[in-house]
């Protein structure tokens, strides 16, 4: 028996892209249905039990890798998508990236994009992370950056009265992180949208350039579901959107191509004194270079163990010095050379391989940039007083001073030499452009299909270099103009951040 859902707009995915579009469409008065593979979790459902949360809110329990199994690709699998797993870091899309997108035919007019950025920031309550919740390793690392003459700064984050528990990556159990599940999704629901969690959309039914329905399966009951809408918006992220296009026979040979990442690994520094980097917000200081970004990332025990280099005895020894460890993640924006595709396994043994495969290898140039980023992170740590630095590679490279850094080149010659290498920021795969070879046209419409749109990070022609959450949300806000033929309101005066601002203002007035 098949259940049928009828709506005006069916939005697949509730992450950074889908949630924003769903809200804007609902705010304009349309009937919107949000479809999400994962569950909808209340902050009370989150815990600090890392394995359980990783299993519940990460796609494939955090075990999604590229085809060579030497790069993990982390994505969310719950209402709010990957925004629930982020550290709420908000960077606007850099201007040089916007210009480069424009050259690729992915035009985002400067003025309109700035308006979208501002609108999104106001909903997320983006503000600088207060120093009161910085973890104790922050000051040490900031000092290291200063000593090597590297520009550094704190983060603007989508948080409200963060208490610095240090568990951002397993969802915020205190409801302080203003991710999509705390902002756009409930706001869309308040405007009359519907949400169907735990539904797997498996195929797009289309004929003669027109989508007839989305075919899905209710994960709780196993029931088949058919979603019929006027327009359909794909926003499942840079892996799932191309996967759904490919499964549906749309843009074969193009969809999935041009996938890029902010890919990287973590450099650890061991200090003589206890730093207790776990006692505060995980990410408090960063440095943006021309070719790489370095961001502090202090993890709780399990995540630290999963990213710490070393095999057996040496790994365990390093873990014993947990309190003395500072960690800097090095991210490299990769070229759009990755690919999402349906492999032979999917065709022959779908029961075992019912997923898209990801093909990606770092180029020599990207590997060099990553090595250089790791060296810069190591220099900052050594300058800050680290007595040893551990590089994210399989071959142990003891680094005690700058002279040892030359040995890094030999130890990190290929992607398979790396340990804990991966990305939480996949982008591209359904690239938007003005030429007829792009999957998505300038109106965010899938070429050749009149009522199918894409509004997530998969439309990016290449990586945005910085953490992409805000860029994706702003792009989705901009895309909602074409998708819903609407003009978004200049200001959004609702949501938890707005209410918080109102409360603060009222309290101030009462105080005055």
């Amino acid at each position: 028996m098949t259940k049928t859902i009828t709506t005006d707009f069916a939005v697949v995915g509730t992450g950074a892209g889908g949630s924003v579009v769903a809200y804007q469409l609902a705010a304009a008065g349309a009937r919107v249905t949000m479809l999400e593979r994962g569950a909808w979790l209340h902050p009370k459902d989150f815990s600090h039990d890392e394995p359980e949360m990783i299993a519940r809110i990460y796609k494939d329990g955090g075990a999604q890798t590229n085809n060579d199994a030497d790069m993990f690709v982390l994505q969310g699998n719950c209402v709010g998508g990957s925004t629930v797993l982020t550290n709420a870091v908000c960077f606007r899309m850099p201007e040089d990236i916007r210009q480069s997108f424009e050259q690729h035919g992915c035009t985002l007019p400067r003025e309109l994009l700035q308006q979208s950025h501002a609108r999104v920031e106001s909903v997320l309550g983006v503000s600088p992370l207060p120093s009161a919740v910085h973890n104790p390793a922050t000051a040490v690392l900031a000092d290291g950056f200063a000593k090597i003459g590297a520009d550094h700064g704190g983060f603007d984050k989508a948080m409200q009265e963060c208490i610095g528990c240090g568990y951002c990556n397993v969802g915020c159990r205190y409801g302080r992180k203003l991710d999509a599940s705390q902002t756009w999704v409930p706001m869309a629901l308040q405007r009359g949208a519907d949400l169907v969690p735990e539904i797997d959309i498996v195929r797009i039914e289309h004929t003669r350039g027109h989508v007839r329905a989305l075919l899905g399966r209710d994960k709780k009951t196993g029931e088949s579901v058919r979603i019929v809408a006027e327009r359909y918006v794909l926003a499942g992220g840079a892996i799932n959107t191309p996967e759904l296009l490919l499964r549906s026979g749309l843009h074969k040979g193009r969809a999935g191509k041009g996938t890029s990442f902010n890919a990287g690994g973590i450099v650890f520094g061991e200090f003589a004194q206890d730093l207790d980097g776990f006692a505060g917000d995980q990410m408090c200081v960063h440095h943006i270079g021309d070719r790489y970004v370095i961001e502090q990332i202090q993890n709780p025990p399990v995540s630290l163990a999963l990213t710490m280099p070393g095999f057996y005895g040496d790994h365990a020894e390093r873990m014993q010095r947990f309190r003395r460890m500072a960690a800097l993640g090095v991210l490299v924006p990769t070229k759009p050379t990755g690919e999402v595709f349906l492999g032979l396994g999917h065709k022959l043994f779908r029961r075992l391989f019912d997923h898209a495969d990801i093909r990606y290898r770092l180029s020599d140039e990207e590997l060099r940039d990553f090595r250089d980023g790791c060296k810069a992170a190591a220099r900052a740590m050594l300058a800050a007083g680290a007595k040893s630095v551990f590089m994210p590679c399989a071959t142990p490279v003891p680094i005690h001073d700058e002279g040892d850094l030359d040995r890094v080149d030999d130890a990190m010659r290929s992607q398979s030499d790396l340990v804990g290498f991966g990305s939480s920021h996949p982008q591209g795969g359904a690239c938007r452009g003005s030429d007829r070879h792009s999957v998505v046209d300038e109106d965010f419409r899938v070429r050749g299909v009149d009522n199918l749109f894409v509004a997530d990070g998969s439309v990016f022609p290449h990586s945005v270099r910085v953490n992409p959450m805000l860029s994706i949300m702003a792009t989705a806000d901009f895309a909602s103009r074409s998708i819903g033929d609407l003009t978004p309101a200049e200001h959004i005066l609702e949501g938890p951040a707005h209410e918080h601002r109102q409360r603060t203002m009222t309290a101030k007035e009462a105080g005055a």
Partner: protein, 189 residues
């Protein structure tokens, strides 16, 4: 070679020795059934005892001290994680744990959990400490076991980790004393 390619290669190799499998399969089937029954008796939801033994043997050989409840706690935690994951890639984790148990057999040795501790350690350090080739597959097993071990509250505490609740009560105590704790958030500017 891709992971799927490696698995396909393994399958081809397995087919090549099909007659041996044919002879061994009834015994394997019986052992698997028994392992599953034992695992359910011991409260494991998805792991087979063959896999649980591999987890415990691996953990014992590579990690410093057992959790308070013994090495079985690591297997329980891995089981809890695997029972919660909903993924089409799920079977890989199970296959990798079985492969881990029987990896020494490829070198004509006893299964991992039957090897003496020193021999187990040597085997793992010599053959499994790599990120390359077919033997990189146990990397997934390593991660599962680390996850199962370091999630234990006692182990985390032994590393010096303090939970949010403990930190908050530390801060309250420090406030009551009227001084900043050395690593309280307040001490950092």
């Amino acid at each position: 070679m891709s992971l799927n390619g490696r698995i396909a290669l393994l399958a081809i190799l397995a087919l090549a020795v099909a007659p041996i499998w044919l002879v061994l399969s009834p015994f394997g089937w019986l052992a698997w059934r028994r392992g599953r029954r034992d695992a359910r008796t011991r409260g494991l939801r998805v792991l087979n005892m063959i896999q649980a033994r591999a987890v415990m043997a691996h953990a014992e050989a590579t990690l410093p001290a057992p959790p308070e409840g013994g090495w079985f706690v690591v297997a329980q935690n891995v089981d809890r994680y695997l029972a919660t994951v909903d993924s089409p890639r799920h079977w890989r984790s199970h296959a990798v744990l079985v492969a881990l148990e029987f990896a020494p057999c490829l070198r004509l040795r006893r299964p991992l959990s039957r090897l003496p501790l020193a021999a187990r350690r040597t085997f793992m350090e010599r053959h499994l400490a790599t990120t390359k080739g077919l033997l990189a597959i146990p990397a997934l097993a390593r991660q599962l076991i680390r996850m199962g071990y370091y999630t234990d509250a006692g182990i985390a505490k032994s590393l010096g980790f303090r939970t949010m609740t403990e930190r908050r009560s530390d801060e309250r105590r420090s406030d009551e004393r009227g001084s900043d704790a050395p690593h309280s958030n307040k001490a950092v500017g």
